[in-house]
């Protein structure tokens, strides 16, 4: 039996909604098949008021073992570093976070807000929000660069806006069943099993990417969304086209550009007008290249690929 506590800071509940839609395994499977005891969750917890505070104090004191501490949302420091804008169970949430993280065997940040601040931490960041261990790409998170949970791991970051439900439940099951030590994390605390490949990996538009045929409208089935519509699939680490959403689709498959929501800089360009769903260019060349590609190589490859493109690449082959 592994005790799991899920708390919410500066959040929209999107990751809770995602978690409740998990299928492999489902949220119910966590309890019935994997022996996870959900002590409390914002949408599922039964305890209220003094009972909740008593349980929280029991966790902090060690009276109740805390095996998995899941945090969703930012750590809110406003106003003026006090955290009073986000109170929970009688005190600023950030104080609970500090004390719970100190006793947790594993600490898991779910969603962009908890991992690196996400949208709330975008300038001017009025809530003084930070992620658990990161603030955007820097180690400016609430728990500090050197934080390790009792199991010896840094915060396990499962980014996304929201994170895919199965990323959440599969990581929770891994740590609950004693396989937490097998988790390999990248430089940003993301499990490599999910965040080494790119969103583009498995994208149905890869042939259009290869032959440099651009989509010009949302929902269009032919064409790549990278060239004009701002898709960040070639430089975003996520398995969105390997572990499909609702088991059948993804943003790019549905004709919408990837926004790069598993990367620390999300939302890119601080949401400046004209930067969302529009490829940013300098003198006609994309400002953000596919990972590992330089401008010279890109220009050469594009010219060659375009010249070699077959007729079918320009057709909507999904229409029969």
């Amino acid at each position: 039996m592994a005790n799991l506590l899920w708390l919410q800071g500066g959040a929209c509940s999107g990751n809770t909604m995602s978690f409740l839609n998990a299928e492999e395994p489902s949220a119910c499977d966590l309890v019935t098949d994997f022996g996870i005891n959900v002590l409390w969750h914002p949408s599922l917890g039964m305890e209220l008021g003094e009972n909740l505070q008593r349980m929280m104090r029991g966790l902090v004191s060690g009276e109740i073992p805390l095996d998995i501490f899941v945090f969703e949302g930012t750590v809110v420091n406003a106003p003026n570093g006090t955290g009073e804008w986000n109170r929970f169970a009688g005190r600023p949430m950030k104080e609970w976070v500090r004390e719970l993280a100190n006793v947790a065997a594993f600490t898991v940040a779910v969603g962009d807000c908890a991992t690196w601040g996400g949208i709330p931490a975008t300038a001017p960041n009025p809530s003084e929000s930070v992620g658990l261990q990161f603030l955007k790409r820097g180690h400016g998170g609430f728990l500090g660069k050197d934080y390790k949970s009792k199991a010896g791991l840094p915060v396990i970051n499962i980014p996304g806006c929201p994170a895919h439900p199965d990323w959440i439940t599969q990581i929770v099951v891994a740590v609950a069943t004693g396989r937490g030590g097998d988790l390999s994390l990248d430089d940003f605390g993301r499990p490599k099993t999910f965040f080494t490949s790119f969103t583009q990996t498995g994208c149905t538009r890869n042939m259009h990417f290869a032959y440099k045929v651009s989509a010009t409208e949302y929902g269009q089935r032919k064409g790549c969304l990278f060239y004009d519509l701002g898709c960040r699939g070639p430089m975003t680490h996520s398995p969105c086209n390997r572990i499909l959403w609702n088991r059948q689709s993804s943003k790019t498959r549905a004709g919408m550009p990837c926004m790069g929501c598993t990367e620390p800089e999300f939302p890119f360009y601080d949401l400046a007008p004209g930067t969302v769903f529009k490829t940013q260019t300098v003198m006609g060349v994309p400002k953000d290249m596919p990972t590992g590609v330089d401008k010279t190589g890109y220009v050469k490859l594009t010219a060659a690929a375009k010249a070699a493109s077959p007729r079918w690449a320009e057709e909507d082959i999904f229409v029969v």
């Binding site: 930067t275 003198m283 375009k306 010249a307």
Partner: protein
């Protein structure tokens, strides 16, 4: 299918554009749309003229030869909006037949 889209009007319209450009039509070849903001300004102007082909050619800075800018040649044939087999510009605001060696200032690769 591409064949279905290859209507006779493609060739007719391409020839008409070529004749217009060849007759010395002055288009806004420079400044090129180097930044996102400049692209958006030109796109907004194109939307305003709607179906006026000559106005579109002027605003987009069409030429019947390739322009080099910033060390890069900018022919239609390497542009993201260009359909190789149809010889066509698919940018919704232009949406017209072209030749591979032509160029415009909305070129992007």
């Amino acid at each position: 299918m591409i064949e279905d889209k290859l209507q006779p009007s493609d060739d007719q319209e391409r020839n008409a554009i070529a004749a217009t450009l060849g007759s010395g039509l002055k288009t806004e070849v420079f400044p090129r749309a180097d930044s996102h903001e400049e692209v958006q300004q030109i796109i907004a102007r194109l939307r305003a003229v709607d179906g006026d082909l000559t106005a579109k050619l002027v605003i987009a800075g069409f030429t019947d030869h390739t322009i080099e800018h910033g060390g890069l040649e900018q022919p239609c044939e390497t542009c993201m909006y260009y359909l190789v087999h149809r010889r066509y510009c698919e940018l919704p605001e232009l949406d017209c037949p072209v030749e591979p060696e032509w160029s415009c200032r909305l070129w992007r690769i």
